[in-house]
């Protein structure tokens, strides 16, 4: 009898593991009320961890056995993960959630056959200025990269090169993922000339730094800037540089070997119903690539112009190793 009990316990342990879901997503990117609702409806226990950079996520997956069942990389990192065999093929196109995905986000270069991913949110990377401190125009990247006196020493950039190098490339007219070292030298020269005017390179706690006026201009994302302006009445404005904004799209994917694949799929479907997607949209404040309940959606071009760019948007690409080395070189030389 004891042996049978023991055997059932052993058998039961994987079954118990089915009652959990470990998510690793951008910090504060998923509405807590949806997590609570999902837990109540499904009986699945959800644990959430947050990251602040795609690089952190990629490194964790490459190190193996991350223990996560669901993660949310941006498109150019999703492509690497898929190519490197780091993702579980979940037949994303056969999920209910896929039907909700906007036509224009299906079959994209980062997941051409829609095997791996269901998009969660998209938006842009640009910069935000504090209007109490800076009154000038914000119609060009020149404002940030070649600042006038009012902004000198009052600029903050992110602590990773990814989108910053992209923005510098937009400004200079250098193509993304350039393998031309002469072109990348120009990117380096631009950033090096800007450096004396940069107060900090940091990706944490941006809301307080720009909202509170610690710096007057901050490299940032559209929705975060919008929420800080709308919810906290911070005197800030998200710039629409004529050279364009850097685009990103985050998707749900399941890491290879995840323990709770079915629960991850359930969560993806759950997040993609119009009702829940709208709650998520209202919470996260970035554009939704899935169908929404428009009557309930909080943000419109009138009250959230940040989410509806009037300038071209260029999505980050997956760079070749040679191009990526040049990006790293720019960054290391900048901060050497």
């Amino acid at each position: 009898m004891k042996r049978i009990l023991l055997a059932t316990t052993l058998l039961a342990s994987p079954a118990m593991a089915e009652g959990t879901l470990n998510i690793y997503a951008w910090s504060d990117s998923i509405a807590p009320e949806l997590i609570a609702k999902f837990e109540t409806e499904s009986g699945i226990k959800v644990t959430m961890d947050g990251f602040n950079a795609n690089e952190d996520l990629l490194t964790k997956l490459q190190a193996g056995a991350s223990g996560y069942d669901l993660v949310t990389p941006s498109q150019h990192f999703l492509k690497i993960m898929a190519d490197e065999g780091l993702l579980e093929d979940i037949d994303a196109h056969s999920l209910a959630a896929y039907q909700a995905v906007d036509e224009k986000w299906r079959g994209q270069w980062w997941d051409e056959t829609n095997e791996y991913s269901i998009p969660l949110a998209y938006g842009t990377a640009g910069f935000t200025v504090n209007r109490d401190q800076y009154k000038g125009p914000v119609d060009s990247w020149k404002v940030l990269f070649e600042p006038e006196a009012a902004l000198q020493g009052k600029i903050a950039m992110l602590s990773y090169p990814d989108e910053i190098v992209g923005a510098a490339q937009l400004y200079l007219g250098v193509p993304f993922c350039s393998e031309d070292s002469a072109e990348m030298k120009k990117v380096y020269d631009l950033l090096a000339a800007q450096k004396p005017f940069v107060a900090a390179y940091t990706s944490d706690n941006i809301e307080n730094r720009i909202g509170g006026g610690e710096v007057a201009a901050h490299f940032w994302w559209d929705g975060n800037s919008m929420k800080t302006r709308a919810n906290e009445k911070a005197p800030i404005e998200y710039a629409m540089p004529k050279e364009g904004l850097v685009g990103w799209l985050d998707s749900f994917v399941v890491p290879k070997g995840a323990a709770n694949v079915e629960n991850a799929k359930k969560f993806i479907d759950f997040m993609s119903t119009p009702e829940n997607a709208t709650v998520q949209y209202n919470y996260y404040g970035h554009s939704a690539p899935v169908a929404l309940d428009l009557a309930q959606a909080k943000y419109t071009p009138e009250n959230a112009p940040e989410l509806f760019p009037t300038v071209p948007v260029e999505f980050s690409r997956t760079c070749s190793p040679a191009a990526q080395d040049l990006v790293t070189k720019v960054w290391t030389q900048l901060l050497q």
């Binding site: 990629l58 490194t59 190519d83 070292s181 070189k329 050497q336």
Partner: protein, 292 residues
Amino acid sequence: MKPTDFRIWGLAPAWVIMALTLVVPIGIVILVSFASRGAYGGFDWGFSPASYAQILFEEDWDGNLAFTPQYLSIIGRTLWLAGLTTAICAALALPAAYTIAQAGGRAKAVLIYLVTLPFWVSMIVRVYAWIIILGNDGVLEKTLRSLGLVTDIDSLLFTNGAMLTGLVYSYIPLMILPVFASIEKLDPALIEASHDLYGSRFTTARRVILPLAMPGLMAGAILVFVPCLGAVLEPILLGGGKAMLMGNLIQTQFGGGRNWPFGAAIAVVLMVLVMIFLMVNALRARPEVPHD
């Protein structure tokens, strides 16, 4: 069972744990540092010293392989900052520890408790506290202004001074405690003897107290210097991330740079530096081991 058997088997668990948690991971880091890089991060097993060569020689913008001082300057900056932090910690810890040692029973216990108190709070929270203190219109700026000491100051945050303050603050308890342990054992009769022999206060401090506090200072120096070499938080959050240190450099290579072998090679260099420091320390400390 022979006593030697017991000694071998009794220590076996410790050796196994040491091997699994210390030797094996370090071995893996060393192996990775000689591996060849994967195209998008990760690595392929192999043997190539290329990653170590890259620390000194790298292609310049024109594609020529040339000597590059950038990584050496990062390593040098890291050593300098860790050394400076250790020196400041030692200078502040000595009088602090002496004061604590001189205090009466109850007060002594309270003071020791206060020194250890910050460890109850997460490191990140303590570093963020400094952001609030040093930030624009922060506690320090407001205080200085209301005292009329300054009228207009540049931001105190995101400076080397802010970074150094953060590092000293974070690690000084690790210096105070061992120094206190040495000074507490100091026999007051020795100080009296020094005065009886016409030793001035300064001479007493230099010739009696300092040598007897030396083992504590040495232990504290290790405890402060070594973690400072790998500091990542303070340079980014307080220093503004404008000048890389080895910790940030390693992070960049594993993250954005997608060059794990090079990141591992720098980690090995960092480790070797730490070991050299520890060995020099151990050799210097040896004659000072008490003989009683």
